[in-house]
Point group: C2
Chain length 131, copies 2
Amino acid sequence: MARKYIDNPNACSLVHTMNIIGNKWKPIILYLLSNGSMRFGMLNTLIPTISKKVLTNQLKELESDGLLLRQSFAEIPPRVEYSLTEKAIGLLPVLRQLSDWANEAYPEMEFEQCRIIENGKKPAYNNVYKK
Amino acid sequence: MARKYIDNPNACSLVHTMNIIGNKWKPIILYLLSNGSMRFGMLNTLIPTISKKVLTNQLKELESDGLLLRQSFAEIPPRVEYSLTEKAIGLLPVLRQLSDWANEAYPEMEFEQCRIIENGKKPAYNNVYKK
DNA sequence: GCCATTAGTTACTTTTTGGTTACCACTATT
DNA sequence: AATAGTGGTAACCAAAAAGTAACTAATGGC
């Protein structure tokens, strides 16, 4: 289960960034967590097309790269909260710009409004992904 | 050979961006082209760990997403030049910020200086990836 | 006539990623 | 006594991405 990274012989920081967030689910996970912590099950509900196995795996990788904090509460049934670290918070504005870029570059696509860190308002989760 | 996109039921522009550049090679390709056009063979030389098949495929996808312009010259042997479109040029500052983010978030890694669109100087290609 | 050159393509194999189902621990509720 | 609820894990399988090697077209140089 070793993680596969792109060869990065010259230590290019862009390659490193893409190693960390350049895949199918991670930006979405960070985006959903951008307004506060969330439980595993909630993430799974908001991203219904991801399997539990893969979600677990992505969360682990994000945690090991220092982007997520995982807090496990000793309760029954279990409760685990995921939240962004400072590192991840520093990435949010860039994710926002990636979003903005798509809006400008592909105006014909009429995207939804991106809700990342917008005036501290919570995103309308129920409209983002429906079960 | 149909392209697989992430499900994007709510037309999130971040998901769209990741569909377009969120993979192993595309940011590197854009980065290498950020100082001007380049031939297929040169790209392949500068990214020696990519196979010709995959490079061809990535270039096609970037072209079909409107990020690259492909100019084929009727010469023997063939000559094909790839260059960035306006869309792609608009993305460069964001790529630069992704780079900068890694530098700040992982200071222990001592990355190389990112050379994207830096004062119009050409990147020192030979130091980026060696054959 | 033979070889080198370039930008691919094709067929085939391997690696990587993602999905499915069943299962677990522990308690509260019915 | 059975079931629901949560956050997983394990075994197994399917799909996607990537790698490899051989091949091509058309021309110039030897």
